[in-house]
């Protein structure tokens, strides 16, 4: 039945029609028909009129026509003939008449077909297949913005059985910004589906024939597209913003990606979610938002960096539009270095790390900026107590092929410093960051993207020591689509991070200390959508590092400081990868990939050699070896395996498991618990081995209530090798033989993460609980020093219990409230067990490392969002955010320490935010 309708539809595709019910003289019919079958009846009609009839005989086999007419128009005759039956007819411009049972064929186009955005009454025509006018072929891309139109893909021909690939972009209807993360699947078979990539691109392999695509994206109206697939082809889809009318509507969407994707341990936050999470000073902040996710922790409230599933802070690869950002924070970690106004979303890979990424042991944080509006100039501005931000976007050329977005943010935090005691009155602190992102679509197959990022922090305390650090990143990406199945993204970039510390307080010792990392990278990533069962990703990437590990120079003419420069280090890190997503059945998919990374430490360099079998110490150094420019001093290489599978037990319940291994060749050296602005990075060299890690994980995912409630349980076990720890009293800055001050440790981490997330409705948010442990072990006496008798000891960020709740309640369209509740076990700390007197003062004697814990942490934050009116046509839209951080005013301890003061020992508990911190923020969009 259905098939025949389909066939009918196919038959009529050529014809264009516009009118119905025109009366023509040559269409008058006369006759006395008695008990005729449809065949006999049509024969008579065709004899009397120029019309051609199309129908399916089987549908009409039960019909007998008895009718008497004289000089009546054909329409009238047919109406009489089919009166009180469920048969219908349609007539097009070319005198074709279509007869059909139960349904009606529309031979004209629905209202608004030619681009008028008037809404179409869905119910009236939902079941109508509409003919398309134009001929389409593989080479042209269809812009599909209409719901009830049938789009043909490929050159019209006989439909052969088998599969074809349909690809294209999903974009915003208004701004033409690409929309990533949009899920597209067949209505009749949700097992065939895909999700758009970061450029809004999708490629879907599906059986040829007629299909209905369901397209869903958060914040956009869910739409359908009817497509008829003859062969491979392209279709671009435009989505409207979901503007919710003031009468309440209940939206129940089916977002199933958490259950359906093969990956484990992936968390995605879009900026609107991030903005609902209350933060200190009310500045939407990526790093704070990350910390409310299961499996992500930090040592304390004011710390830069985060720990993912027991990994160290330097084991996270932080990518901003593909560029590597080494210091993701401002102002000692109080603020994230990314301007929330230009961020579109962030994705954190905790477990299944795609094979194209590598080089860090525990996670990849992928931050994507938004793309500029391609049609109109627009912008937004925000004013907060500490920073102000401005963001402008718009088309570069008039043809809406290109756009830019420029975001800038600056602080006026100096007033904070005015609150300090008088002796700090000349202190200064400032930071700023600038992001520029442009997009240019050269043609249907080639797009060019450019990202530039700059962040800078500067602080100077009372003319004493001045600190400065800066990230500078630049990246060009070229996306080339060979055909629907194969595309390639080539990118080249340059990343830079530096810090500079100088002090002129003491003229004799006035110095300037600098450190920087330069990194140039080239990448080429291919996506090959072979068919519905296989999606292959392969590519290669290469990073050239040049580190200047430290230069120490005199400052001023009186300074006696001796210039000390640690020679620069160079290395090349390259990787090749290939992976396949194999859908064995719609219910069972596996994702397997191999990445092979190799690292070459390059000259010129002088490398110290140590006596074998002895700890690496000054005393065991037996000599130096010189290497010339370009010579390969040491090569490390190894395979990295990435494997995951997903098995769907039902459409909303699946289980997944995965195994990952990773290698890391660049290490951050820090002997503080949090990332400090003076931490340095070091490349692996003949004396420092690369870090290696692997993780095995298992998860169960179940959705409830039409997928609006997502639940998951994930369990993981992780091992790390050659993680660098430091000998007691290690000197990390300006150390020419740093290998003598570091030791290799082993680590293990395990945990279980539970998550309940409500994604839709007036009340949304999530509740997560994590139980996790992170343990380190240093038991090699050859390394010189054994920590805690060679037993496993908890790492600094080992906080076994962690509960967080994020809730957002929309009370009206203009008013919403959000809250964030967090509880965690206190972090481990080394406490003194004894005291003694030395050098004129009582002093403390420390026990085993991290044998105690600071008291538990509990915090409630609250914010209200008040939006201005929602009239679409107005110059500016504004909103207020009012809230309070640490609503209960609890003095959460950051650390506990004992210190000798005036000869006596005193114990202190230090809290960073020991009271309620209220805030107000004002935002304007224009």
């Amino acid at each position: 039945m259905r098939y025949s309708n389909l066939l009918l539809g196919v038959l009529f595709l050529f014809f264009c029609s516009s009118s119905k019910g025109q009366e023509r003289k040559d269409s008058l019919v006369s006759g006395d028909f008695k008990g005729l079958t449809i065949e006999q009846f049509i024969l008579q009609l065709e004899a009397q009129t120029p019309f051609h009839f199309y129908y399916d005989q089987k549908q009409f086999d039960s019909l007998q026509i008895t009718l008497s007419v004289k000089g009546q128009p054909l329409q009238k005759v047919l109406e009489l003939a089919f009166v009180n039956t469920n048969f219908h007819y349609s007539i097009d411009q070319h005198d074709n008449v279509f007869l059909i049972k139960d349904k009606m064929i529309r031979t004209d186009l629905p209202a608004g077909f030619f681009g008028s955005s008037r809404n179409i009454n869905d119910s009236a025509i939902t079941n109508t297949n509409t003919a398309d006018i134009g001929l389409t072929s593989d080479s042209s891309t269809i812009s599909a913005s209409l719901e009830n139109k049938l789009y043909e893909i490929g050159t019209k021909s006989q439909i052969r059985t088998g599969n074809s690939t349909v690809a294209g972009y999903v974009r915003d209807d208004k701004t033409h910004e690409p929309l990533p993360g949009v899920s597209i699947y067949l209505e009749e078979n949700p097992g065939i589906g895909t999700v758009t990539d970061q450029f809004g691109f999708f490629s879907l392999t599906l059986p040829r024939g007629l299909h209905t695509l369901n397209i869903q994206s958060r914040g956009k109206r869910d739409v359908r597209r009817h497509i008829l697939v003859y062969a491979n082809g392209k279709i671009d889809i435009y989505l409207h913003d979901q503007i919710i009318s003031l009468r309440e509507v209940i939206i129940s969407s089916r977002k199933t990606s958490n259950v359906r994707s093969v990956q484990l341990g992936v968390e995605k936050l879009n900026i609107s979610t991030i903005k609902t999470i209350p933060t200190i000073f009310g500045e939407a902040d990526i790093s704070r938002a990350l910390l409310v996710l299961p499996g992500v922790k930090s040592v304390g409230e004011a710390s830069t960096g985060f720990n993912v599933r027991g990994g160290a802070t330097d084991q996270n690869l932080i990518l901003f539009n593909g560029t590597t950002v080494y210091n993701p924070s401002h102002f000692f970690g109080f603020f994230s270095a990314f301007n929330p106004e230009v961020i579109k979303d962030v994705e954190l890979y905790k477990s299944s790390i795609p094979a194209k990424y590598g080089g860090r042991l525990s996670s990849v944080l992928d931050i994507t900026s938004k793309e500029g509006n391609k049609k109109n100039y627009a912008g937004s501005a925000g004013i907060g107590p500490v920073t102000s931000r401005l963001n402008v976007e718009g088309p570069i050329f008039k043809d809406s092929s290109s756009s830019f977005v420029l975001g800038a943010r600056a602080t006026y935090a100096d007033w904070l410093l005015k609150l300090l005691p008088k002796q700090y009155e000349r202190s200064k602190a400032s930071f700023y960051d600038v992001v520029l992102h442009t997009t240019h679509e050269m043609n249907k197959k080639n797009s060019l993207y450019l990202t530039a990022y700059l962040s800078n922090d500067h602080f100077n305390l009372n003319n004493d020591t001045a600190y400065e650090y800066s990230n500078r990143n630049f990246c060009v990406q070229w996306k080339h689509t060979f055909n629907n199945k194969l595309n390639n993204l080539v990118s080249g970039g340059y990343d830079f991070y530096k810090y500079d510390i100088n002090s002129e307080a003491n003229k004799i010792n006035a110095y300037d200390l600098q450190f920087n990392i330069n990194q140039a990278s080239v990448k080429s990533d291919f996506n090959y959508y072979i068919n519905a069962k296989h999606t292959v990703q392969f590519g290669l990437n290469s990073i050239f590092y040049k580190l200047n590990p430290g230069s120490y120079r005199p400052l001023g003419s009186e300074s006696l400081v001796k210039t000390d420069i640690i020679p620069s280090e160079q290395a090349l890190e390259s990787a090749l990868y290939c992976g396949d997503r194999y859908n064995l059945t719609p219910d069972f998919s596996i994702d397997y990939a191999l990445r092979y990374s190799f690292f070459q430490y390059l000259g010129p360099q002088t490398v110290s050699t140590y006596a074998p079998g002895l700890p690496k110490e000054e005393s065991s150094r037996i000599g130096n070896k010189e290497y010339g420019r370009g010579s390969v001093i040491k090569t490390y290489s190894g395979p990295e395996y990435r494997f995951a599978f997903r098995y769907s037990l039902t459409s909303d319940f699946s289980i997944k498991a995965g195994f990952n291994s990773l290698r890391q060749y660049i290490h951050m050296l820090s002997n503080t618990t949090a990332i400090a602005p003076t931490d340095i990075w070091k490349l692996s060299d003949p004396n420092i081995k690369p870090q290696e890690g692997n993780q095995i994980s298992f998860g169960m995912y179940k959705n409830f209530k039409s997928n609006t409630i997502e639940t998951s349980v994930e369990v993981y076990y992780k091992r790390m090798e050659h993680y660098l720890d430091y000998k007691s009293g290690a000197i990390l800055v300006l150390n020419h033989n740093i290998e003598t001050d570091v030791i290799n440790t082993k680590g293990k981490a395990y945990g279980v993460e539970l998550l309940i997330k409500k994604t839709a409705g007036k009340l949304n948010g999530w509740l997560s609980y994590t139980y996790s442990r992170t343990l380190l072990k240093m038991d090699d006496p050859l390394a010189g020093e054994v920590i805690n008798h060679g037993q496993y000891y908890p790492s600094n960020y080992d906080k076994p219990h962690d509960v967080s709740f994020v809730g957002n309640l929309k009370l009206s369209h203009r008013f919403s409230i959000s809250t964030n509740i967090a509880y965690s076990t206190g972090r481990p700390i080394t406490l003194p067990v004894g005291r003694y007197t030395y050098a004129g003062s009582q002093r403390v004697l420390y026990s085993d490392r991290n044998a105690y814990r600071i008291p538990d942490n509990f915090r409630v934050d609250f914010s209200m969002n008040i939006e201005g009116n929602h009239k679409v046509q107005q110059k500016t839209h504004n909103s207020w955010t009012i809230g309070a951080y640490n609503l209960t005013g609890r003095k959460n301890p950051y650390s506990v320490y004992f210190i000798s003061e005036n000869g006596l020992i005193k114990g202190y508990k230090l809290s960073i935010f020991g009271s309620i911190i209220p805030f107000v923020n004002f935002n304007i969009r224009f």
Partner: protein
């Protein structure tokens, strides 16, 4: 560095806070040996102090190690015994050590445990050039200046002892009449000014680890702050004296003191380094796993002193101590916790109708120091 991080804590709108904290740590009685001192290579006595570590929350001030056999040994097989004094100190005779030999300390405790320091060469200590001072942020910053023409010293350590004279704010010229039976003050009589509680001296030793390095400088030249006197504090109200001792250190000893400083003085910031293990150069040879605290090496001792007179200061310097006189009616019972200073009003027959008095701390300087003038005081 430390300053900033303290500052940061302030920055957070004083909402961040530091509170006294006394955790319930179940600390075992450890009692590791603590060895402090140095082998004096400049023709003087060497003093080595032996103590034991105690529980963190112990009321005991110090546990001294008595009846140990302590000796200084050279790598030329000489041995010089030390004799026990008070408070765990062991002192040698005046020794003339050879600058070409290496020396160490051997300790045998009462419990027959034997400890030995590593052999270390004698270090030459250059003299202190001058102790200088300047006004900084309203207070006085004292600097040590030294240099080594040979560029050999590189690592320095200082200790100091300081003494200052200070006066009570008010002079006591009145005395209570104490009733011998009730022991209560029943009246007041005038007398001569009580100078015994007017002029005092206070002496204290450095409590912080003061060390410095010229390793990163092109010349072995020292100009480092050693002591900061807070604005308007007692130290400079009359006359201040500092005696600074300078010792050259080996690189390892310098690292030991740095570690000790980091572990015990430089904590409490956001970027605290983790406390590290403190290994000195003394080992227990009977039980190699036993922890011993301390670093002993031979060094010369150099000394320099400086007086700063109140009149040398380029600014007004008045003790910031909050003192005030208040009038008290001469009517028993009188409160003896305040000290009478002078007559306010006279009554009939020159009797004292009322008098001025002040807090004991403002009148009796012996509550804050000693009224025994040091021998060297000018």
């Amino acid at each position: 560095m430390k300053k900033i991080f303290y500052l940061l804590v302030f920055v957070v709108i004083a909402s961040g806070c530091k509170k006294l904290y006394e955790p319930n740590i179940d600390s075992p009685v450890i009692g590791y040996l603590v060895v402090e001192g140095f082998i004096n290579s400049s023709a003087g006595v060497s003093t080595i102090t032996l103590t034991r570590t105690t529980k963190l929350m112990d009321s005991m001030v110090a546990v001294y190690e008595h009846h140990a056999q302590v000796s200084i040994e050279s790598d030329n097989n000489e041995s010089f015994p030390l004799t026990e004094g008070v408070n765990g100190s062991y002192t040698s005779d005046v020794l003339h050590l050879s600058p070409n030999l290496k020396y160490r300390v051997r300790i045998i405790t009462q419990s027959a445990k034997e400890y030995l320091s590593d052999f270390s060469p004698v270090k030459y200590t250059p003299p202190i050039d001058i102790i200088s001072w300047q006004v900084e942020n309203g207070g006085i910053q004292i600097y040590v200046n030294a240099h080594d023409d040979q560029n050999n010293t590189k690592f320095y350590r200082w200790t100091y002892s300081e003494t200052w004279e200070f006066h009570s704010r008010y002079l006591k010229t009145l005395y209570y009449i104490i009733d011998p039976i009730s022991q209560q003050a029943v009246g007041i009589i005038s007398g001569s000014a009580d100078t015994t509680i007017y002029k005092c001296w206070k002496t204290q030793n450095s409590t912080n680890i003061l060390s410095g390095s010229t390793e990163k400088l092109s010349m072995d030249k020292i100009h480092l702050p050693v002591r900061y006197i807070e604005p308007q504090s007692d130290e400079l109200t009359v006359l201040y004296y500092i005696r600074l001792k300078q010792y050259a250190l080996s690189n390892d000893a310098y690292l030991f003191y740095q570690k000790l400083k980091k572990n015990t003085e430089q904590l409490g910031s956001i970027f605290d380094p983790m406390p590290s293990e403190l290994a000195g150069n003394i080992h227990c040879i009977t039980d190699p796993n036993e922890l011993v605290i301390g670093y002993i090496e031979p060094a010369e001792e150099q000394e320099k002193e400086l007086f700063i007179h109140h009149s040398d200061l380029p600014m007004i310097w008045i003790s910031q101590m909050q003192c005030g006189e208040f009038e008290v009616e001469n009517k028993p019972p009188l409160d003896v916790s305040i000290i009478p200073t002078r007559i306010a009003t006279l009554g009939p027959f020159n009797s004292i109708a009322s008098f001025y008095a002040s807090d004991a701390l403002c009148v009796d300087c012996t509550l804050r120091g000693t009224n025994v003038k040091p021998l060297f005081w000018p």
